[in-house]
Assembly symmetry: C2
Homo-oligomer: 200 residues x 2
DNA sequence: GGTCATTAATGACTGCAGTCATATTTAAGT
DNA sequence: ACTTAAATATGACTGCAGTCATTAATGACC
């Protein structure tokens, strides 16, 4: 790695670290780029060589966080429990990992939503949280379908999409609540409902 | 109504009308307050006497739109069809009403989401789209429960919340698509799935 | 119809995100 | 070591949302 590359990486990490701290301390809106760059010791313009907008920092936070997801996923995939339990376990674990950085998570979930409405979660965007999650959930469901745990008439894409969207909605409500919200029970109830149906 | 009140209403309507037109013509981000006020013939500051932020215009658009909802609702409520069909009918009608102002709808759905993440859809906020919708859906479900169409073990609040969130997600995807997306079939399939469950 | 308090209008001003022409640093070729 | 091209850094500048102290319009009351 050349001197150039080393410096570049270091600058990016510095921006990342400082902005994360400031966002947590004072919130996203109350933190200015000027503040971040002053603290990092770079010029304002330099920031924009690394991140195209202030909001894109949040997408980067999300990406970093999601490196962890695949570990959770592998651990959960190999368990020998019914599909429904696997999905519950995965989503609860995931939420617990978000819980560690509640404030930051709120921010990047919000930013994701903004992005999602503007530009969509198109399949060709490998970094789309929505897409990756739907894929993972779809894999679980497919396994369940192969075992005969799931009705053959169910469209697995649709089911995965619904799990996904219900999950994120619940996550947001949970993140916003002051921890008196029993996330895992709540999401479990919804997954049950989706598996069992509501019709008598 | 006094002269004052008349003028006030007229100014508000003018802002509403001009901004709506400009948003449709050039998009929300590309329309500036200066432009709106110039065209309306008021000073910039006056705008903020009527709407606290640029985004709040979108909430106002939404409110206006939602005056229509209750008409749809009443028509649908009185039909004598199964609960599931009532819900489908209502959601499809609603989507069709959104379709008339696709670009504007996109904007205010986005703004709603932003708002929702920031400040929640608290029950005490009577204007919250989320809350009103959940209430309406809840009413439908309650009727279904009374007729024995719905499992007694199902928590109606949860079911309404899920219908709601799945609906809005689907709506967004549909609004973003270029009309080749069969909304009513898609949302119907999801409602079916939620009613019947996915477990074999 | 004149006085005064209340309500609304005004636009210069502030703060911040994001741009861009210019300057500096790096690395490769000779 | 010198030259040169490419990569990177810089900060003054622009554009826009939102504020606020000041001014104008309105209507209640005598």
């Amino acid at each position: 790695m050349s001197l150039r590359e080393k410096k570049k990486l270091e600058t990016k990490n510095n921006i990342f670290e400082v902005s994360g701290r400031l966002f947590k301390e004072k919130g996203f809106e109350n933190t200015t780029i000027d503040e971040i760059t002053r603290e990092v010791g770079i010029a304002k313009g330099t920031f924009f060589n690394y991140f195209p907008t202030k909001g894109s920092l949040l997408l980067y936070f999300r990406e970093q966080k999601h490196e962890l997801i695949h570990e959770l996923l592998e651990a959960e995939k190999s368990k020998n429990v019914p599909t429904k339990e696997k999905i519950k376990g995965f989503l609860v674990l995931l939420a617990e990992s978000y819980e560690k950085d509640k404030e930051l998570t709120k921010l990047f979930i919000l930013e994701y939503k903004r992005y999602a409405v503007h530009s969509g979660f198109s399949p060709d965007n490998g970094n789309s949280m929505h897409y990756r999650f739907s894929r993972i959930l779809h894999d679980f469901l497919e396994e369940g379908a192969e075992n005969g745990e799931i009705k053959s008439t169910v469209d697995l894409e649709t089911a995965a999409e619904m799990l996904n969207v219900v999950y994120f909605h619940t996550l947001i409500v949970w993140l916003r609540s002051e921890n008196d919200f029993p996330f895992s029970r709540n999401i479990s109830a919804k997954i049950d409902l989706l598996f069992e149906g509501i019709r008598n």
